[in-house]
C-alpha cells in the first residue's frame, strides 16, 4: 500500500501544483469549453424551448472534447525531459503512476465541469425541474467522468509513444468510451428533464459503476505493459 498510494498522491500533487503555477492546461480547456458552448448556440437556437432536451448531450460533448485536450498533455509533457523514465526507474509500483495520473486528470476535468456546466445552464436558460435531483446529477457527472478518465489515462499513456499522439488518442478513446457516454447522457437526461427521473436513472448509474470498476481495474493491471520501454 505504501508503494502504491504514496507515490500516486505525490504524482497527483506534482501535476496539480505544476498546473497551479502555470495554469496552462486548465485555461486552454476552459476557453475551449466556452467556445464549444458558443458553437452550440449557433447550431441550436437557445431561445427555442425544445433545445433544452439537448442540454444533457451538450454537457458530455463538452466533457469529452475538453477532456481529450487535458489527456493529450498528461503524458506528452512528461516525455520532454524524460520524466517518464525517471518515474519508471523509481522503486514504485507502476500502477501507482496510473493512479496518480488518473487523479490529476480527474481533478482537471471536474474543475472544467464546475465552471462550464453552470455556464451552459445560464446561457441556455435551463431550468432544473427539482432541486432534489441535483444530488443525483452530481453523482452521474462523477461516475461518467470517472469512467472516461480511467480509460483515457491508460490510452493517453499508450498513445504518448506515437509521434502523432494527439491525432491517435481520440481515435483510440472514442469507441471505447461509448458505453459510459451512452449511459451518462441517458441518466443525465432522465434526471434533468423528468420529474421522477432518479429512479429510472438508477440502472444507468449501475452500468456506469460497473464500467468504472472494470476499466479502472484494467488500467491498474495493464498500465505496467504500457509504460515499459
Amino acid at each position: 500500500m505504501k508503494h502504491l498510494l504514496a507515490p500516486a498522491l505525490a504524482i497527483a500533487r506534482k501535476d496539480l501544483y505544476a498546473e497551479w503555477k502555470t495554469k496552462q492546461t486548465i485555461t486552454t480547456m476552459l476557453i475551449f469549453s466556452g467556445l464549444v458552448i458558443l458553437t452550440f448556440s449557433f447550431a441550436f437556437d437557445p431561445s427555442n424551448q425544445a433545445v433544452s432536451a439537448l442540454v444533457p448531450g451538450m454537457i458530455w460533448v463538452i466533457t469529452i472534447f475538453a477532456g481529450i485536450l487535458g489527456l493529450n498533455r498528461s503524458f506528452t509533457t512528461e516525455k520532454q525531459h524524460d520524466h517518464l523514465h525517471g518515474m519508471m526507474v523509481a522503486p514504485v509500483d507502476p500502477s501507482g503512476i496510473y493512479i496518480g495520473k488518473f487523479l490529476a486528470n480527474l481533478v482537471f476535468v471536474l474543475v472544467v465541469q464546475v465552471v462550464s456546466i453552470p455556464l451552459l445552464f445560464l446561457l441556455f436558460d435551463f431550468q432544473v425541474p427539482a432541486y432534489s435531483s441535483i444530488f443525483y446529477f452530481l453523482l452521474i457527472i462523477f461516475l461518467g467522468t470517472f469512467g472516461f478518465i480511467a480509460v483515457g489515462t491508460l490510452l493517453a499513456a499508450l498513445a504518448s509513444h506515437a509521434k502523432s499522439s494527439e491525432m491517435l488518442l481520440p481515435i483510440l478513446l472514442f469507441p471505447l468510451v461509448t458505453p459510459v457516454i451512452i449511459a451518462a447522457v441517458q441518466a443525465t437526461r432522465l434526471v434533468l428533464t423528468e420529474q421522477e427521473g432518479a429512479a429510472a436513472a438508477l440502472s444507468w448509474m449501475q452500468l456506469m459503476g460497473a464500467y468504472d470498476v472494470i476499466f479502472f481495474a484494467a488500467g491498474f493491471l495493464l498500465f505496467e505493459y504500457v509504460l515499459e520501454v
Binding site: 469507441p175 471505447l176 444507468w204 472494470i214 495493464l222 515499459e228
Partner: protein, 244 residues
C-alpha cells in the same frame, strides 16, 4: 548455406496450408451451389434473402477473429513470443475485413427487408463500434517503433477492446429499449425465425466454409509477415556488407 536453406524451409507454405486450400476450394463451390441453387427462395423477401448466408457467416467470423486477437494478446503479454503477436495482428486485420463485409451486406439486405439502409439497432451499432475499434487497433500496429513495444501496446488495446464489446452491446440495447418500446426484436436473424431445414443446413455450411477461409487467410497472413521479416533481415545483412 545449409542454415539459409533451413531458414527458407520455415518460410515455405506448410502442409496444413495445402490441405486447407484443397478442402476450401470444393467447399466454397459447394457453398455457392447450396446458397444460390439448392436452397429455396424465401417467400416474402425473395432472392435478396440469400445475402443472409454470407452476412451471418461473416459476422460470426468477425467476432471469432476478434476473440482470437484477445486470446493471443493475452498470450503475448504473458510469454512475449513474437509469433503470438503476429497471429493477433493478422487476425485483427481479417476481422476488420469481415466486419466490412457485414457492414456492407447488412444495409443491402435491410433496404429491402426493413425499407431502410440503417437502424440504430444494438447489433448494428455494436458492429459499427467494433469496426472503429479494430481500425484503431490496426493503427496502433502500424506505429513506427520497435516491434516489442508496438506489440505490447497493441496487446493492451486488443484486450481492453474485447472486454468492452459486451458492455457496448448491453448499453446500446438498454438505450434502444428506452427510446422505442418495440425493438425490431430479432435483428438480422428476424429472417431466420422458423428457418426451413434446407436453409439452416445452407447457413451452417456457409458458416463452416467461411471459417475455413478465415484459417487460410490467417495462414497466408502469417506467411506474408514471416516473409517481410526475412526481407528485413536480408536487407540489414546486405547493408552491413556494403558498409564494411
Amino acid at each position: 548455406m545449409t542454415q539459409d536453406r533451413e531458414e527458407m524451409k520455415g518460410l515455405l507454405p506448410t502442409k496444413l496450408h495445402k490441405v486447407l486450400i484443397i478442402t476450401a476450394v470444393p467447399m466454397t463451390l459447394a457453398a455457392l451451389y447450396l446458397v444460390f441453387v439448392w436452397s429455396p427462395v424465401e417467400r416474402i423477401m425473395g432472392p435478396v434473402q440469400k445475402i443472409f448466408y454470407f452476412h451471418v457467416a461473416s459476422a460470426w467470423n468477425a467476432f471469432f477473429a476478434f476473440f482470437i486477437v484477445f486470446v493471443f494478446s493475452l498470450l503475448f503479454l504473458f510469454t512475449k513470443k513474437r509469433k503470438y503477436d503476429l497471429i493477433a495482428g493478422v487476425s485483427g486485420e481479417i476481422g476488420v475485413v469481415f466486419t466490412a463485409i457485414v457492414l456492407t451486406t447488412g444495409p443491402i439486405w435491410a433496404r429491402s427487408a426493413w425499407n431502410t439502409w440503417w437502424t440504430w439497432e444494438p447489433r448494428l451499432t455494436t458492429t459499427l463500434i467494433l469496426f472503429f475499434m479494430y481500425i484503431a487497433y490496426i493503427m496502433i500496429r502500424n506505429l513506427d517503433m520497435e516491434w516489442q513495444k508496438r506489440a505490447r501496446l497493441a496487446s493492451v488495446f486488443g484486450i481492453i477492446g474485447f472486454v468492452n464489446v459486451p458492455i457496448v452491446y448491453m448499453s446500446i440495447r438498454w438505450w434502444e429499449s428506452n427510446l422505442h418500446p418495440v425493438v425490431m426484436s430479432e435483428g438480422a436473424e428476424g429472417a431466420g425465425g422458423g428457418l426451413d431445414p434446407s436453409m439452416l443446413f445452407t447457413l451452417i455450411f456457409s458458416v463452416f466454409t467461411l471459417t475455413l477461409i478465415y484459417f487460410i487467410l490467417l495462414q497466408k497472413g502469417l506467411y506474408v509477415e514471416k516473409l517481410k521479416l526475412q526481407v528485413k533481415k536480408l536487407k540489414a545483412k546486405e547493408q552491413e556488407k556494403m558498409i564494411s
